[in-house]
């Protein structure tokens, strides 16, 4: 063990508060410890859901039943979707890196409401446990898909109410975190840090937080309405009771489309930190990136109808939603151009965080282009609800948000733990992950084009080749995930001690010790310059 060399200061990890042992974690109001609590719980659920995804893929390796029956398949994809969406990616980056680094990056000692922050984590855990309980209590695991479409979700005999409640509770946690971040950013920036001297990751969290606060209540009330419909027979959505099934889809997507931006905006924020550091160059187009984040958050509210092009909404609604969908693509394109220009002319150091960040752009662009194909009315009609869509959203949320998360963890790991993982192993794990990912999802585009519907337990023989390759990809991908995690966990205590600024970053988190002390800063810094200045002297 290399434990002999050790940092000399007392870090937040060893800080002795009021409580000892495990309670110093479970009752901690330190934003860094709460960030880690989220990290561990989310990582746990991610692994569970990834294994569920692998089971689904194994089932689809050949036509006909292979390892499970249809009811179980439906339950598994529902659980996989619920965990991945509501427990992993919606809180994801914001709750982990937002909690840990937002206060540090704006020069604060903690978030505005530390206790509320801890409460949010507990609410999150309660929601997650309810989701787990839905599998065991009552009459069988829910089988509605994570979208809970009525009338099926009002009629299914399975334990849908638990799953709905779980999503509802998780929503609360999300709202509280959003409020906390908004107030923190408004009130707690270090002296001298004007809005436009704030780094871009906090900016992206700011845009995200507003979506969390404004959109989540809508889905909350919608889920409650489904519960009321099931228990009290009130006819909101079920036509058998006089309700309107499309109303549910509208309300659901008014939240769930912006939710995609809750996932992706912080992801964009993370890679925006990584490109300048590894190019040793100021971010290109700071203002444009800020504005495009806000534009995405705003326009993102008005495109929900593109999930409903084939539901029979009116001709002009289809026209309108398609148009706005294309508009919302522009800010994302702007960001991509700015990231690439940030690298242009830089002194590029291709370390694991940058590898992941570049794969993020690559996968996100594939996801984005196929998104445009889905946004065009004529092609949407053919592709909607096929495996083309499954591939598209995995490219966006897993290729985008997932890879950004991996980029972030490899970037900030030395800061969070004061130690460094094995860089070579990290590169190999990246290679396996990236190969597996494309093998897994790319074939789904092709069979989707040929007409393979989604949420199918079984399929016609002409789709076999695509499904087969895809399953092989899933196995490789899961191996990659385990390699990456092994690397991060093994070197947590055994890695070489990391200097406080291993990547030569210039944002505030790199100016303090690794791991940070309990209060982050001995003296709150005074901010004079805009962020991302890599030369000592300001430019003329």
């Amino acid at each position: 063990m290399r434990n002999a060399e050790k940092y000399t200061h007392v870090s937040y990890l060893e800080h002795e508060g009021k409580y000892k042992g495990i309670w110093s974690w479970l009752l901690s109001t330190d934003h860094k410890k709460i960030g880690l609590l989220y990290l561990y719980s989310i990582a746990f659920f991610f692994v569970v859901a990834a294994i569920l995804g692998l089971l689904l893929r194994l089932e689809l390796i050949a036509p006909g039943p292979t390892i499970m029956d249809a009811q179980m398949y439906n339950g598994v994809f529902t659980l996989h979707g619920i965990i991945m969406v509501f427990i992993v990616v919606i809180p994801g980056l914001g709750a982990v890196f937002g909690n840990f680094f937002l206060p540090i990056m704006i020069g604060a000692k903690d978030v505005a409401f530390p206790r509320l922050n801890l409460l949010s984590w507990y609410i999150f855990i309660i929601g997650a446990l309810l989701g787990v309980a839905s599998q065991f209590a009552g009459d069988g695991p829910p089988d509605t898909g994570w979208t809970f479409y009525v009338p099926y979700s009002a009629e299914s005999a399975t334990n849908v109410i638990f799953a709905l409640t779980a999503a509802f509770v998780l929503g609360f946690s999300s709202i509280l975190t959003g409020i906390n971040f908004i107030v923190t950013i408004h009130r707690m920036r270090a002296p001298g840090m004007g809005w436009f001297k704030m780094p871009l990751f906090p900016w992206s969290l700011y845009a995200t937080a507003w979506i969390q606060v404004l959109a989540t209540p809508i889905v909350g009330i919608t889920l409650l309405m489904v519960i009321a419909e099931r228990t009290l027979n009130i006819g909101f959505f079920d036509p058998a009771l006089g309700g309107d099934p499309l109303l549910f889809q509208h309300l659901f997507w008014i939240y769930s489309h912006p939710a995609v931006y809750i996932m992706i905006l912080p992801a964009m924020g993370v890679v925006t930190e990584i490109f300048p550091t590894f190019s040793q160059k100021p971010v290109f187009g700071y203002g444009a990136i800020v504005i495009s984040s806000l534009a995405i958050a705003f326009v993102g509210y008005f495109v929900w109808g593109h999930h409903m092009f084939t539901t029979g909404i009116s001709y002009w609604s289809r026209w309108f939603f398609s148009f706005l969908t294309f508009i919302v693509a522009i800010p994302s394109a702007i960001k991509v151009f700015n990231w690439i220009s940030t690298m242009y002319g830089g002194s590029i150091d291709l370390k694991p965080p940058l590898l992941y960040a570049i794969s993020f752009i690559f996968l996100f662009m594939i996801g984005g282009f196929t998104g445009l194909t889905l946004g065009a009315l004529a092609t949407n009609v053919h592709l909607h609800d096929t495996s083309f869509v499954v591939a598209h959203f995995h490219y966006i949320i897993f290729g985008g948000m997932g890879f950004a998360f991996f980029a972030g963890i490899h970037y900030w790991y030395p800061k969070m733990y004061g130690r460094m993982y094995n860089i070579k192993l990290a590169n190999i794990a990246w290679g396996v992950l990236f190969t597996g990912f494309n093998l897994l999802y790319f074939p789904l585009f092709i069979i989707g084009l040929q007409g393979m519907p989604r949420r199918y337990f079984d399929y016609l023989p002409q789709f076999h080749a695509g499904h087969f390759i895809s399953t092989i990809g899933a196995i490789i991908l899961v191996i990659g995930i385990f390699m990456m995690m092994y690397n991060l966990i093994y070197y947590r205590h055994r890695g070489p001690v990391a200097p406080s600024n291993p990547w030569k970053g210039v944002t505030l988190e790199w100016q303090i010790e690794s791991p940070p002390t309990h209060e982050n800063f001995d003296v709150i810094p005074e901010i004079k310059n805009p962020p991302y200045l890599f030369k000592k002297e300001p430019q003329t």
Binding site: G145, I348, I361, L372, A376, T379, V381
Partner: protein
């Protein structure tokens, strides 16, 4: 991107250039994508618009989606499980759902529209080649969603006329009341009348036979009399027929009355006679 990473890698480019933005470039790469997406939007729309303009001479066929089958109603009680249509004839399908959401998808014709209960959705197309193509359901609708698949057969006009001529008008013979109740409540999705196993046991020869059921975890043998059938419909999860999973069948306590149960039992009795 790959080019930039290689061209400016650290070993070659020790010192980074320091510049931080350009309004001219920002404007260029806002405007060009803007024009591109407008073009894509426009072509998407132009391609889509005809899908919503049905020719006047389209043949209309009522299409019913129910868990988990399609049914095509050619009028005058002529019902079919496969869609048979004449070539070169515009077809308009009027989509109706009897239970939950479905979606009718014919990949070969690039058409799809959801089948939503309470909504009068429709789609149209003109088949130009004869042949057989798949029809699939693409809106998740429960257990056998993946099996809600049938065929469309495009045939010459004369073949079609012949076929329609000979199609039995099964829709005109009224069902016995018990069967009608069960059809209305969607029981036939899970229970067959001819001995095939679907999701649940077949009704063939059910009445008055001995059944092994699980009450809690206890195995017991009961006789399928009127009382048992009522319990099976009102509290389906109390006694589970051996070999089947709990939680698949809903209670119909609020949906089916005592009298209707009696009519169902009467009908089940007739299944024993044949």
């Amino acid at each position: 991107m790959v080019y930039i990473v290689i061209r400016f890698r650290r070993s070659k480019n020790k010192e980074a250039m320091q510049f931080s933005g350009s309004n001219k470039l920002e404007i260029i790469w806002t405007v060009i994508p803007f024009i591109l997406v407008l073009l894509m939007f426009y072509y998407g729309w132009v391609g889509f618009a005809p899908m919503r303009q049905v020719p006047d001479d389209a043949m209309r066929i009522k299409t019913i989606g129910r868990m988990w089958e399609w049914e095509f109603d050619y009028g005058n009680g002529k019902l079919a499980k496969e869609l048979v249509i004449p070539v070169d004839q515009p077809i308009r399908l009027d989509l109706e759902s009897e239970d939950v959401n479905h979606s009718l998808f014919i990949p070969a014709f690039r058409v799809k529209e959801d089948v939503v209960p309470g909504y009068d959705n429709w789609l149209w197309f003109t088949p130009i080649y004869t042949g057989e193509y798949e029809i699939m359901c693409t809106e998740y609708c429960g257990l056998l969603h993946y099996d809600m698949v049938t065929k469309v057969r495009v045939v010459e006009r004369e073949v079609f006329d012949d076929w329609l001529e000979n199609l039995e008008a099964t829709g005109l013979i009224p069902d016995p009341p018990g069967l009608a109740v069960m059809k209305q409540n969607g029981c036939m999705a899970c229970h067959s009348l001819d001995g095939t196993e679907l999701v649940g046991p077949s009704f063939k020869g059910l009445y008055n036979t001995e059944k092994v059921v699980l009450i809690g975890n206890q195995e017991e043998t009961v006789v399928a009399d009127e009382d048992y059938i009522q319990r099976a419909i009102y509290q389906p999860n109390e006694e589970i027929v051996k070999g089947y999973a709990r939680g698949l069948m809903n209670s119909y306590e609020d949906l089916i009355s005592q009298e209707e149960i009696t009519s169902i039992v009467e009908y089940l009795k007739t299944l024993n006679e044949e």
